[in-house]
């Protein structure tokens, strides 16, 4: 159900997700550029990146192409997204170069990684989301928001990198995200009154630390002083963020997340695999709230740590406990693709709910939040299906276990990014060399093209991103 903003009488918009949660969001003057009035304002463009590990079953994922790019039929795995077909673009056959094994690190950076021995995999560059966040620094209270579901905290699990070797770890606790968005740090917060109390306490703590009368700096050498200054400057940064959030939170209504059921000394609630679906719902709501309230314009939502993901899905019909998500992706090699297909279809359902949420927010200019957003559905690997199955390594007696494919990446885009993307299309991109041999090997155009296209769609004129060796420009025909 969609509620439309009707003039000045109703200053609240409604978000009604399919899980039945209702959020009411106030109309935000501060969201608008200063020169614009409510009626004619152009909403800012937003980026939301949804990332799954473990690839997919390619031949049960790829849509069937029709006579033109606007005629296509969604596959079994993508069928839950049927209702959003007019708002999506399928981008097929891109390839991640410089990538092998665990690909979160290279996924949004467009670089290969520095291997300090798994799981210490370090990025060689900045990721797309952080690059945008740095461009937008100071515009919104939080430059970017990184959300995770059961996200393993290791380097290989990081999708976001604020620069070479600087991972930005996704926050897997919806309760901490909620508290942060409300300006209360990560403490459990029951309501906005408590958030206020915590905020005031945190201010006192920060004021004590930042005491200008402190004699510490005077006792330090210049290099040491710079290091301590960096710390104190970051403390000041937290203070600024708190103030900006406080102002924004006043005008924003948050989804109810309840109190954190975790017990000290035990595995946190949100890290428990059984709670992953509920945690995902909360993170989804918080992601949409943060974008709708203009707390940030860049959000990543990562569905677990990378390849090593040990999430299990025995709560889904037809999925056994025999393997975890990662294990089922390897099962595809042995010919068993049924369980991975079920898991992937379930994720398509969850993605469809996220698109529902974005559609149900109506902005002051009368358009949905989805229309000014670019939602990229990203995957760590290319398909694991029959079309890229690698033959055994003869002589070794072993199957080649390069299941973690970097070719034929299964990208989806939702939303029009403020009109820069024409949706309802299936882009089947050519391979680098279209010979029969190359098709079977699947050497596609570089996925860095997609990173460039996303920047272009959001109004940035960049012509390359990531490894300059793969600076091929943008995805042909995607933007504009």
């Amino acid at each position: 159900m969609t509620a439309r903003l009707s003039g000045r009488a109703s200053r609240r918009v409604l978000l009604r997700g399919s899980a039945g949660l209702t959020l009411s969001l106030p109309f935000l003057e501060s969201l608008l550029p200063r020169h614009a009035t409510a009626q004619e304002a152009t909403p800012p463009r937003r980026l939301l990146i949804w990332t799954q590990p473990n690839g997919t079953v390619m031949d049960r994922w790829a849509p069937t192409a029709g006579a033109s790019e606007t005629e296509f039929a969604l596959s079994e795995i993508l069928s839950p997204l049927e209702r959003h077909k007019a708002d999506m673009v399928v981008v097929q056959n891109l390839m991640q170069y410089d990538a092998y094994g665990h690909q979160y690190v290279s996924s949004l950076t467009g670089y290969g990684y520095q291997d300090l021995g798994y799981p210490k995999l370090l990025s060689k560059g900045i990721s797309l989301d952080q690059y945008l966040a740095q461009k937008l620094a100071g515009v919104t209270p939080i430059a970017s928001l990184e959300l995770g579901v059961c996200a393993a905290e290791d380097y290989s699990g990081a999708i976001s990198w604020s620069g070479p070797e600087k991972s930005v770890i996704a926050e897997a606790s919806p309760f901490k995200v909620y508290a942060r968005l409300m300006g209360g740090g990560s403490s459990a917060i029951a309501d906005q009154a408590q958030a206020k109390r915590l905020l005031s306490r945190r201010r006192s703590v920060i004021d004590t630390v930042l005491d200008p009368l402190s004699s510490l700096k005077g006792r330090l050498g210049s290099v040491d002083r710079a290091v301590v200054d960096n710390y104190l400057e970051s403390v000041r940064g937290v203070e600024r963020e708190l103030s900006a959030l406080e102002a924004r939170a006043e005008a924003c209504t948050f989804p109810e997340v309840g109190t954190d059921p975790s017990v000290v000394g035990q595995k946190p609630w949100w890290e428990d695999n059984a709670n992953a679906p509920a945690a995902l719902t909360l993170q989804r709501k918080l992601a949409v709230t943060a974008l709708a309230c203009d707390i940030t314009r860049v959000v990543t939502l990562t569905l677990s740590g990378s390849g090593g993901s040990s999430r299990t899905f025995n709560y889904l019909d037809g999925v056994s406990q025999l393997h975890d998500w990662h294990g089922f992706s390897h099962e595809v090699e042995t010919g068993n693709d049924q369980e991975l297909a079920i898991i992937e279809k379930w994720h398509a359902e969850q993605l469809a709910l996220l698109v529902d949420d974005l559609k149900s927010i109506i902005q002051p200019n009368g358009e949905s939040l989805l229309s000014s957003t670019l939602l990229l559905s990203n995957n760590e690997y290319g398909g694991n299906g029959a079309c890229n199955y690698l033959p055994p390594d003869p002589g070794s007696g072993q199957r080649n276990n390069l299941t973690h494919y970097a070719k034929m990446m299964p990208y989806l885009i939702f939303g029009q990014a403020g009109g820069s993307i024409k949706t309802g299309r299936n882009l089947v991109l050519p391979f680098q060399d279209n010979s029969e041999f190359q098709r079977s090997q699947g050497n596609g155009l570089s996925h860095t093209r997609l990173l460039v296209s996303v920047l272009n769609a959001l109004g940035h004129a960049d012509t390359s991103f990531g490894n300059p060796e793969h600076a091929e420009g943008a995805v042909p025909g995607l933007v504009g």
Binding site: L116, S187, R201, S222, D224
Partner: protein, 563 residues
Amino acid sequence: MTRLSSSALWGIALAGLAAVACEGSPSSEHAPGSAGQGTGGSGATGAPSPIPAGFLPSQALGAGPVRRLTRAEYRNIVRELFNVEPPASQALPDDSLSSGFTSTAGQLVTIASVSRYLDAASDVASRLEPSLRSAIPCNSTEPAGESACIEQYLTSLGPRLFRRPLAADEKARYVNAFAKARTTQSYEQSASLMLEALLVAPEFLFVEVPSGASSGAKRPLDGWQVASRLSLLLWDSIPDAALSSAAEQGQLTSAAALHEQLERLLQSERARAPLRSFFDDWLGLTKIEGLVRDAAVYPSVTPSLLGDLAAESRAFVDDVLWQGKDFRRLFVSPARFRSPALSAFYGDGLGQGAELARYEAEVSERSFGLLSQAGFLMTLAQAEKSAAIHRGAFLRRKLLCGALPPPPPGVATPLPELTAGVSKRQRISEHTSSGACAACHRTFNDLGFTLDHFDIAGQWRDQDEGLPIDSKVTFDEPGLTGEIDGARQLSEALAQSPNARACVLQQLFTFTLERAPTSADQLLFDDLGRKFEASGFDLQSALTGLIESEDFRTRVEPEGSAP
């Protein structure tokens, strides 16, 4: 003092490269000729140094700036100070591997990491809050009286929290924070707010010490600072009462006075875990549990087996450090650690008990030391195709301290496809023999080939891809000459290699003094080498030597611009 050039004494035997590096690579300045000559002294004893000439790189990396507590230190300190469960490790800002060892040095702080410190402090303080009336007793209910109680508490807490007594202005700042909060909040709430602020104070989070000295200036540490270095190094925590009292009495500023405390801390059980972390970081043993092998190809490699393999390698390095007291035993030792699962995996009949236990066995081709331990071997290579390359690079970098730059961008091309009758070794040799690749690969591929009898699950094999394994290699470098066939012979050569011994000293130096040694440290290093040799290569004695060195009790003000 007469200075004998160590290269003059050792030069003939060690002709050629000391620490092998790639020709023409950015790191080739590590090679002799640019370093070591003339700086290598013989020290006071006049005995030759066992450290190969030119082993230490010449470039001065300089002293590091102040560093923050590591996660382990933060958690131990909170537990010890307040007797509460500390925040989870992942809730704290990450440690980086600085110079190969876990440290926060050089890690910039971001808003996100400050938020983690703030959250952790808030978490600890709010859990302490209910008990603060009894933890900080106070008879008075008057503002002045309460402030006096708080000040008294800070006087007793300070030396442990800031690892030195609090200055008057510091105490005043926190008493004021309490008093200000107390105007609207309860005694407990106000005291907990003050503790929260103390836990994010830079004086708590940053380890090193204010000095105000100019760049490059050397300055002896005071007793408190030495005590703090010592306990953070050996216990990952703050000084205990005896060490604090030694610090307070102004002891610890000489090697002799330090010795007693050092021995006490070193021989305590509490030193086990922090010193194990030396091996964990150096040899990458922490990676064993997290390994993933394709279950269809290596069905025996289960998470439970990996746990046992990690325990095996850890027990083994502990054995080298505490029982064997001989570094050479890292490479060749009769000690075996077996659980029932390990016994089945290795198939050597050892390990009849229910638990992991120590056995002794003959040194054989398949079982001889670290380089035959499956868990460790598995950490070195993920794929059969390139296993020799990754193994060789690790051995060159970590066990021989050779400088290898990462491959230049764009050359990480896949190995050529399989041709019948051509072995992996031939393919790797062919593929890496051209100009740009050869400069580095020639320094480490061969090391890797000697391990070819072990597959990537660490299990012995006689054939690969239907071809017999060829693990024979001819070396021509200092301490590693002539024909070596297989990992056992390589291990025997490494146990005798001056470069491997110098390398472990370099690793231990970096771990202990938190900076990499350079040729400017030649005198200390030579001295250390002699002591190491005289002790029969006892790592504890090398560690003691480092801690008793003047460098341990000295802070060199870092030079140059800040990071």
